[in-house]
């Protein structure tokens, strides 16, 4: 990931639930108690970049070796989402969970080991990729046509369900869709240009 990768920066801004492991003076405003001490055990959603730092950094207490916070998986990667993905990867609108679903998930897998999550995600990504390619090709077919995209889409059997699926794509899948669509479009343009 590049330093200037905007998606990577936005992924770092995703909030994940954290629990403080020690009292911090004057940080109470994070928990709507300005001026108070932030108590040990308070649960707060922190952005990923901050949570990562605090979880890795050491409090300096060599005896205990405790880190500032402990974190859980964000709700986007919660058990019910994983179960839904196991049941049918195509039926889950990932964008509603997080616009950077896969990026967030891979980042979380770097921080803590989740072997099951990895295999579920892999299956999800590959299954959805096939669906994405299908839609990309169909839309590509209608883009050059005279009729409106939605009209042509329904003729080809995409219909409302397809649009709903496409709306639920996260950023990785959107870029995948764009690539597949560009390929199909270039193919169509070339096919039209052969006659000239």
């Amino acid at each position: 990931m590049s330093y200037y990768d905007i998606d990577s920066i936005l992924t770092d801004a995703e909030k994940i639930p954290c629990t403080f492991q020690l009292d911090v003076p004057d940080l109470g405003y994070l928990d709507n108690n300005s001026g108070q001490t932030l108590k040990n055990g308070t649960r707060i959603a922190l952005p990923l970049w901050l949570a990562e730092m605090l979880a890795i950094a050491n409090t300096g207490d060599a005896d205990e070796g405790k880190s500032f916070i402990s974190f859980d998986l964000p709700p986007a990667l919660g058990n019910d989402v994983v179960q839904a993905l196991k049941a049918d990867p195509r039926a889950v609108p990932l964008r509603d969970q997080s616009a950077h679903f896969y990026a967030l998930a891979t980042h979380m897998m770097d921080l803590s080991e989740e072997p099951e999550l990895g295999s579920v995600l892999r299956k999800t990504f590959v299954t959805r990729a096939g669906e994405i390619a299908l839609h990309a090709r169909k839309v590509g077919g209608s883009a050059g046509g005279k009729g409106g995209a939605s009209e042509e889409g329904s003729n080809l059997g995409v219909g409302g369900a397809g649009e709903e699926f496409l709306r639920g794509l996260d950023e990785w899948e959107r870029s995948l869709f764009r690539k597949a669509h560009d390929g199909a479009k270039a193919g169509k343009e070339w096919m039209d240009n052969v006659k000239k």
Partner: protein, 259 residues
């Protein structure tokens, strides 16, 4: 980021390369041999057939100086047999590319042998796979480009009405595009991930390159942390084994050499 073009060849580049393919023409006028960078063209003597590069054949065709013979795989019967192979016989794989050319040897007639690989160029643009004596029933690397330009510029020389061939080609394109899409599902499980692209044409590669690379890259990123853990485990395991063999100095150094 800096390059506006995606990696790999674009469609227009691929179809430009396809113009190097040899096709068979029946000349209507005499034409002496032309010295090209790639070698001399055969002198044209009507009505003897000659093999010319596609671009030259199309030029002569436009000037009505020659007729182009369609390659055998472009006949409707060959195309429909390929569609049959792709859909019914082997719905998983792409139909195989044409076999290497065989040549009858004069010493023992009746037995054909493959020429030595160093004496003949076996890479894609140099096989005469679109000439009149190419094998039927096999799609060469540049099948779609050659077929499209032949249909567009030499439609009256085709063995069947251009519309019929065109609709068969469309069927074939759709069948193979669907295979290309489903080929990515081989990446689903861990350890899997081999997609055989044998027999896929250049234009199909240009069209699907972005998508397939995107899928592979995504799967790689998802598996990256698991892969890192696995490597770490392996390293730890290897380290322990190294320490266990530490009593014997020779043994240890041998192992290090092996790594």
């Amino acid at each position: 980021m800096a390059l506006p073009l995606p990696p790999g060849l674009t469609h227009s580049e691929v179809s430009f390369l396809a113009e190097m393919e040899l096709v068979t023409v029946v000349p209507r006028q005499r034409l002496e041999s032309i010295e090209l960078l790639s070698g001399k063209t055969p002198p044209l003597r009507p009505p003897h057939r000659a093999d010319l590069p596609l671009w030259l054949a199309l030029l002569l065709k436009k000037q009505r100086r020659a007729n182009i013979l369609a390659p055998p795989w472009l006949h409707p019967s060959s195309l429909s047999s390929i569609i049959h192979t792709e859909t019914i016989q082997d719905p998983q794989a792409f139909s195989p590319p044409p076999p290497p050319r065989t040549r009858a040897s004069p010493s023992n007639p009746g037995i054909a042998s493959r020429p030595d690989s160093d004496s003949s160029n076996l890479s894609a643009p140099f096989i005469p796979s679109s000439t009149a004596d190419a094998p039927a029933g096999f799609l060469p690397y540049h099948w779609l480009e050659v077929a499209e330009s032949l249909l567009a510029h030499a439609g009256d020389d085709m063995p069947a009405p251009a519309g019929e061939i065109r609709s068969l080609l469309r069927d074939l394109v759709e069948v193979r595009a669907a295979k290309m899409r489903s080929s990515t599902s081989a990446l689903e499980g861990f350890g899997g991930g081999l997609m055989s692209l044998r027999g896929v044409g250049a234009v199909e590669l240009a069209e699907s390159r972005g998508f397939v690379l995107g899928v592979v890259d995504g799967v790689r990123k998802i598996g990256a942390s698991a892969e890192a853990t696995r490597r770490e485990d392996e390293e730890n395991f290897g380290g322990e084994r190294g320490r266990a063999g530490g009593d014997d100095d020779d043994n240890e150094s041998d192992e290090e050499m092996g790594i």
